[in-house]
């Protein structure tokens, strides 16, 4: 079979098939869909962070339009458990029951003919509650005497983890030791399309059909069936076009459960569309980390050990399915990064606070951990008087050591980490930056190197014991009577261009033109079970599954084709949309094979596979511990010492995602992630006050990077195939979002090195930069 690229297959920068509808405004998102008789839902949400809910008085005359948890007793609480020892599981009621645990927590669902009228109802409800002291500082949440969010717990923490390598002897032998206290701010993922749910009951099928903007339709189906006490067959989840996910839509929503139950109860379609205020103040948050980190190195900069105490603010509940600990509990395993680290002592805590629950945002824990490790490395380099490049080269895992098993047991599949770094440095004119610095200019050069585990499967996730452990990814392929190849997968696409890249995979195996490949996604009634799109897994897992299913289908096509050519199976190959004789003349098109199976079965050869031209095949890499893409980011930043403003003069990324299925789409993923990482580095912050009130309620307060804030990034690829995947592809969807905070702050700190100032907290706003400068000057004075 043809495995090479023909201009349409794996490796081709094919333009996207899905663009056509988006460019004329014909994408179809949840908010674009209506049903006859549909009612709109607005949620009454808590104005306070921590309180005992005493009474809700419904607006007179509208009692039947307002639903509290007492009106919907059928819905079970959401429990996202974990098998990690010591994990405290939260019971999350879909509407507040007895207690309120964060601002924005839903208390009642209000239903009317329009959203505005539903909001009027929510506004007319009277809420009686007794305030409790709010827990909003994650570093103090666990302390004795702090009010407990979940009163049967012994402390406000979902989980603590420990790794206890002995680092006590390092002080005596190290040439350098640095300790830093670092902080990253709480963020909102802020996809441009908010969440949205449309639920309708089909009395004929006795099925609840929930159209929802989700990254994981099948997980939502199972979770919804569990919580509503329905058979899985009574639930169908449709996820239409999704206006950005980034992790924000990788969750079973309380709102999904409420809407589904309301549709069952009322026998009418109901819809809820999250508005931006809800998204910013009530939707899940992410990435609020606190580190106290110490690192030791010898005189050459080789790391001797790292000690780290990390706290992640996990909010009030454990979200389904990923849980409250995916960030904190990964700190210890991600800290070694791409380096050959000999010793690690690490304590982590997932703090429980009166804030919305966290979700894993693109990069998950890596963005914060990379920031902690990379800024600490630069501090070590400054102390040793060696360059940022030198200290990384002294520690990066060498290409000849691949595959490399690091001290925490992660296995790096392939690559040349030092080469990526060297290329990134070579792309920047470092001497000219040093010359400008010598003239007193506050300009700096910053680096970050990291690797990203992606598409990790069963062997990794079973240890977490979360509600869903990914197994074999499946794809269904069918050759239609007209020769069109239909491919159905359970992952979903929300900007990743899978309608194109998976068609390229199918083309590579079967030679069918991508225009004749129809990719079906986002509907549990039409696609095989999948845990969905998250963890940079789709290109590896769905790509592998589609390839495997096409191979098996190709074999059946070849057998029928051989019969039509009056030769035997070994005499033919499938190539370019035809079954061709290997020797001699003769071919039959795949479309003719399809016609024969469906419309002229009298011509089928004897002994044909009765399964016909439909195949479901599964795929999982072996080993399934995940691919490791990696990158080096190099940044030139200029700091205005008067205003604290930071300008990114240059940004270079050298990235290795293994074999790229569609290089244009991969560039898009890296660049998009990068803009989000720049947001983390310089702009995005959801502050909470001491009462647990969110202080950024609009996009004028919560600053997302715009086109003028993101430089024209220079992107270079290396393509070291993963030895473990179908085409050598690696997961790379999150990579761009990991490195920017580290590289940018390292550049800022390089610019401020002559003053002796260091930025420690993200985002590096003008205020924080000025504070760092002032602190350094005060220290010197």
């Amino acid at each position: 079979m043809n495995a090479g690229a023909t201009g349409f297959g794996v490796g081709a920068a094919l333009r996207r098939k899905e663009d056509a509808r988006f460019l004329i405004g014909k994408g179809r998102y949840v908010g674009d869909i209506t049903r006859p008789g549909m009612l709109e839902v607005a949620f009454l949400r808590s104005p306070v962070a921590h309180a005992r809910l005493k009474r809700l008085t419904k607006p007179a005359g509208h009692e039947q339009q307002v639903f509290t948890i007492d009106d919907l007793p059928e819905i079970k609480t959401i429990r996202a458990n974990s098998a990690l020892p010591g994990f405290r599981v939260s019971e999350q009621p879909v509407l507040a029951r007895g207690k309120i645990r964060h601002v924005g927590e839903a208390i009642a669902a209000c239903i009317a003919g329009s959203r505005a009228e539903a909001e009027d109802l929510a506004g007319a409800c009277e809420l009686d509650y007794e305030m409790l002291p709010a827990v909003s500082d994650m570093t103090r949440a666990h302390l004795p005497g702090t009010p407990l969010l979940h009163e049967d717990w012994s402390m406000n923490a979902f989980l603590e983890t420990h790794r206890n390598d002995d680092v006590s002897g390092l002080d005596a032998i190290a040439a350098a030791k640095v300790t830093r206290t670092l902080r990253t701010s709480r963020q909102c993922m802020a996809p441009l399309e908010g969440r949205g749910v449309l639920a309708e009951w089909d009395p004929r099928l006795e099925q609840i059909i929930v159209t929802t903007s989700t990254q994981m339709p099948h997980v939502t189906k199972s979770g919804l069936a569990d919580c509503l006490g329905l058979d899985e067959g009574q639930v169908r989840i449709i996820s239409p076009d999704v206006g950005g996910g980034f992790g924000y839509k990788g969750i079973l929503l309380p709102e999904e459960l409420v809407l589904a139950q309301l549709a069952i109860r009322l026998g009418r379609p109901v819809r809820w569309l999250e508005d931006r205020f809800e998204q910013l103040t009530a939707g899940a948050n992410c990435r609020e980390h606190h580190y106290v980190i110490t690192a030791w190195a010898d005189e050459a900069g080789r790391l001797l050990g790292v000690e780290c105490d990390a706290i992640v603010d996990a909010g009030a509940y454990s979200s389904y399915p990923f849980g409250a600990c995916l960030e904190a509990a990964q700190v210890g395993s991600i800290l070694p990064g791409p380096y050959a680290l000999p010793l690690l002592r690490c304590h982590t805590m997932s703090a429980c606070t009166n804030k919305p629950p966290i979700l894993p945002y693109r990069g998950v824990a890596r963005t914060g951990v990379c920031y902690a490790m990379e800024t600490t490395l630069d501090a070590l380099a400054r102390q040793l008087g060696i360059s940022a490049e030198a200290i990384r080269l002294a520690n990066l895992v060498r290409p000849e050591a691949m595959p490399y098993r690091n001290l925490v047991g992660k296995v790096f599949d392939s690559g040349d980490y030092p080469e990526a770094l060297r290329r990134a440095v070579a792309a920047i004119d470092v001497p000219s930056i040093r010359a400008r610095q010598a003239k007193g200019e506050a300009v700096g050069f910053g680096l970050a190197t990291f690797c990203e585990q992606g598409a990790h499967g069963t062997s990794v996730y079973h240890a977490w014991g979360i509600p869903f452990v990914p197994g074999f990814e499946q794809a269904f392929v069918r050759l239609s009577p007209d020769g069109i190849l239909e491919v159905r997968v359970g992952v979903h696409s929300h900007g990743q261009g899978m309608e194109t890249s998976l068609a390229q995979v199918a083309h590579t195996i079967l030679g069918v033109h991508p225009d004749k490949v129809r990719i079906v996604l986002g509907d549990t009634a039409l696609t095989p079970y999948s845990t969905g799109t998250w963890g940079s897994r789709a290109a590896v897992m769905a790509g592998g599954a589609v390839a495997e299913a096409c191979r098996q289908l190709g074999d059946r096509i070849a057998s029928i084709g051989a019969g039509l050519l009056q030769v035997t199976r070994p005499d033919v190959v499938v190539a370019d949309g035809f079954v061709r004789r290997i020797e001699g003349e003769g071919s039959v098109s795949i479309a003719d094979v399809a016609r024969t199976w469906y419309r002229a079965p009298q011509n089928l050869p004897k002994g044909v596979d009765k399964g016909g031209l439909e195949v479901t095949a599964g795929y999982r890499p072996d080993p399934d511990t995940g691919t490791h893409s990696y990158a080096a980011h190099a940044v030139v930043a200029r700091v205005d010492l008067e205003t604290g403003a930071v300008v990114l003069e240059d940004f270079v990324v050298v990235e290795d995602g293994g074999k790229l299925i569609n290089p244009m789409i991969v560039d898009g993923q890296v660049l998009g992630g990068l803009a989000q990482g720049i947001g983390t580095a310089l702009y995005e912050e959801m502050p909470y006050d001491g009462a647990g009130q969110p202080l950024a309620a609009t996009l004028a307060d919560y600053l997302l990077p715009g086109s003028a804030d993101v430089p024209d990034v220079r992107l270079e690829h290396m393509e070291t195939p993963s030895p473990w995947t179908t085409f050598g592809q690696k997961g790379i969807g999150e990579s761009g979002a990991i490195g920017p905070p580290a590289a940018i702050v390292n550049a800022i700190n390089d610019a401020l090195a002559s003053i002796g100032a260091e930025v420690t907290d993200l985002p590096a706003t003008p205020e924080r930069v000025l504070a760092a400068i002032a602190a350094a000057r005060a220290g010197k004075a």
Binding site: R21, L23, G25, E193, I665, L699
Partner: protein
């Protein structure tokens, strides 16, 4: 609630509507007129996803009261079928991978077309500045900026060639 009678010309067709005082133009376009290509991103005029043309100029339909638009000429993403600049922009957007999830795309195209028309000599920095009122969470903007710049450059070349003839 009392309703307001308004007449709009939407994508070339006269439309008579009864709207509530609190209805925003985006709600009217997406609801009764079923023009769902206009996307609502923030409902407070920051993200730009809902940008349409009112009387020939880009405007945020999420903060334009429908009742105050009586007599206005409206053009949405569905109304640029034969427009030469829009055709060139759409081609450039797909070539430069200027869209991923597609949610910001209609607003980007409407504003991008205005930039192309208004600023025939804009360079990359100017385009970045002009587009900074439209947020995209997926692409990192490089494709969007390159696409718009490429159309400006192509038109500049065409203009010069025309002048030489």
């Amino acid at each position: 609630m009392s309703r307001i009678d308004i007449t709009l010309t939407v994508n070339g067709e006269p439309r008579e509507l009864k709207v509530e005082p609190r209805d925003q133009l985006a709600d009217v376009l997406r609801g009764p007129l079923m023009l769902t290509g206009t996307h609502v991103g923030c409902e407070h005029g920051v993200c730009g996803a809902c940008t349409i043309e009112i009387d020939g100029a880009p405007a945020r339909s999420c903060i334009a009261h429908a009742g105050s638009c009586d007599g206005a000429t409206i053009r949405t993403i569905e109304g640029f079928g034969d427009d030469e600049i829009m055709r060139a922009l759409r081609e450039a957007f797909t070539r430069e991978h200027a869209l991923q999830c597609g949610y910001c795309t209609p607003g980007m195209l409407v504003v991008g077309r205005d930039v192309v028309r208004r600023l025939p000599d804009a360079d990359e920095a100017r385009v970045r500045e002009e587009m900074s009122g439209n947020l995209c969470r997926c692409t990192g903007y490089r494709g969007i900026v390159r696409a718009i710049v490429s159309v400006i450059v192509a038109r500049r070349h065409a203009r010069r060639e025309g002048a030489c003839r």
